[in-house]
């Protein structure tokens, strides 16, 4: 209850003082100070729990094999080595899966941006019939359990030679991106001023040209948001990759981490954790730099609905 105590005290400081008016001022100050301290302690716990595992992963990734074998004796590494990163990139060939992830996520993102922009625009701005039905379809598709795709797509991919194939992955990844992207962009387009495209169509531009040369430039922020989210969702995938890919040359980054650093006698967590750092770093940077956009994209549905 500390938190919601704080929640109201921020807004109703005057009101709180009504009930404690009879206390002497120093007591009131002490009480307020104690509350504040508790609040900051709680924030501190949240921040430490969120960030400490990253610290631990980085520290472990800088340990030598000998130190790993000795087990944990300290919160600091005794001897810092970059060898695990070098091994990941050379002997374990971790660059290939990183590139594969980059290629597949980019491809899916590109398709999503085009397809979802068109669909979002159609839902927001045209006189087409059955909008509610289509919106319902995109919503239900967004909740479709991905595991239920795996069996049927496996059989089709096997017959079409799309197993161990990045094209097959990029196609299946559309389940992660299109539903949310279409919802978000339909919402986004419906808030844009209508006059712009009307002016363009009056000028005799075709609908598609108006969309490309007039609407698209103003829609850049929304499209950018969707591109980032779709990229993150695809980068995040494990289920589809582990089902359709067995050939190490086609591994995506999350897939390559599993089974890395396993030997007969011991698991080399320094190698694994170096890879964890490598896979997480790009996305963590994106999340930090584009936090506002990502949050607005994720929460668009939560606030309106």
């Amino acid at each position: 209850m500390t938190v919601s105590t704080m929640a109201a005290s921020g807004r109703s400081r005057a009101g709180a003082s009504v009930s404690v008016r009879r206390r002497p001022p120093w007591a009131r100050r002490a009480r307020k100070g104690a509350r504040r301290a508790a609040f900051y302690a709680l924030l501190g716990v949240f921040v430490v729990v969120s960030l400490f595992p990253f610290y631990w992963i980085v520290v472990t990734s800088l340990k030598t094999n000998a130190e790993i074998s000795r087990g944990t004796t300290s919160l600091l590494p005794s001897h810092v080595t970059w060898a695990n990163y070098v091994t990941d990139f050379t002997k374990e060939d971790f660059l290939r899966p990183l590139l594969n992830s980059l290629i597949v996520a980019s491809a899916t993102t590109a398709i999503t941006v085009v397809v979802a922009s068109l669909a979002g625009y159609a839902l927001a701005r045209t006189a087409m019939r059955g909008k509610t039905m289509f919106q319902g379809f995109f919503l239900v598709a967004g909740f479709f359990p991905v595991i239920a795709m795996v069996g049927p797509l496996f059989i089709v991919y096997r017959d079409l030679n799309l197993l161990n194939n990045l094209v097959g992955l990029a196609f299946a990844y559309l389940i992660y991106s299109i539903p949310l992207a279409t919802w978000f962009l339909a919402n986004f387009f419906s808030q844009m001023p209508r006059e712009l495209e009307e002016a363009a169509t009056v000028d005799g531009a075709s609908r598609l040209r108006a969309l490309r040369s007039v609407i698209a430039p103003i829609a850049v922020p929304g499209i950018f948001t969707i591109a980032i989210l779709s990229f993150i969702f695809c980068w995040n995938d494990y289920l589809i990759a582990v089902s359709f890919v067995t050939n190490p040359g086609t591994f995506t980054a999350p897939l390559a981490i599993i089974g890395l650093g396993e030997s007969q006698y011991q698991t080399f967590y320094n190698l694994i954790d170096a890879a964890v750092v490598i896979v997480t770093l790009p996305i963590a940077l994106i999340v930090i730099l584009a936090q506002r956009r990502i949050i607005s994209g994720l929460t668009a549905g939560a606030v309106k609905s």
């Binding site: 938190v3 919601s4 704080m6 929640a7 109201a8 807004r11 109703s12 009101g15 609040f39 969120s50 960030l51 595992p53 992963i57 472990t60 087990g71 944990t72 398709i111 397809v115 068109l118 669909a119 625009y121 159609a122 045209t126 006189a127 289509f134 379809f137 995109f138 598709a141 909740f143 479709f144 359990p145 595991i147 239920a148 795709m149 795996v150 069996g151 496996f154 059989i155 196609f171 389940i175 609908r207 980068w235 995040n236 494990y238 289920l239 582990v242 089902s243 999350p254 981490i257 599993i258 694994i272 964890v276 896979v279 997480t280 994106i286 936090q291 994720l298 929460t299 549905g301 609905s305």
Partner: protein, 327 residues
Amino acid sequence: MRQVQTPPVPHAQGEPGPDRPEPPSRAARGAGQGLRRSDRRFGYWAIAPAVVLLLAITAFPLLYNLWDSFHHVDYLNPSTLGKFAGLGNYKALVTNNLFVPSLERTLGFTAVSVVVELVIGMALALALNQRFRGRGLVRAAVFIPWAVPTVVSGMLWKSMFDPQTGFVNYILTVLHLPLAHATWLDGTYTGWAAILIADAWRNTPFMAILLLAGLQVIPAELYEAARLDGASVWKAFRHVTLPMLKPALMVALIFRTLSSFLIFDVISAMTSGGPGTSTQALAYLNWQAIIQDSNFGFAAAISVALMIMTLIIAAGYLRIFRPDYTR
């Protein structure tokens, strides 16, 4: 105490809006209808690619699963391949001792993880909704775990829970706490605890961000009114915050419940369903039936059951949270 109510939402339909255009003259209408028709056609063309692609990866697997689930599609048993199985695969769900225990585990995990994430996520959202110095930094810090791919968060916590090289047992030893020598991932309950921690660490920020967005649109006047009515902090939370938070709460709960219910990545990274089958959730069982056992008929029956249960969960939340303006 005066009941603080949510403002009634007027019905937009049927009300003449101020910007509703005058009915056009007949000639203009003719031209307008032509425009309208082309506009409509453009709409269908524009929405078609997204709909076709999504149908190919959702509706098609749905139908394929339905067909498979009524047939023998067990590649390790080629003699019956493709033969009609009736309800055989569904009967196997109930009788073969894999599905029902897995369902119980999955439901148990879903309930616990959603409650844990809801409580911590709500606390986090309420804290981040306060004004304090460095709020932007704190929000960025607590949101970062969400950037870690789920399977990677599983690997990260597997490394944290390793009895020799991990952090958890080290700190438990230093603090002289119990379980300091536990081999976490080798036990049923400790295994589930580790999975829960990995899952909650990665996904609670998502819950918190959705709830925070909901908190930020609650008008301050409502709290003001509650305060004037002499409402306590708890009452203000109960009668102002919670009702106003309903939409965000619903979206957050649906997302998190379904993704907990379909948990796969973290289990795959941490325990592979073990020891034995004790951490095998439904999605993992479904995956094993496909990839390890090549029994697509049985897998399809699980998938169909999963799709139905997904629908039930989503519909259940929609019913619980259905807008209620009567009170």
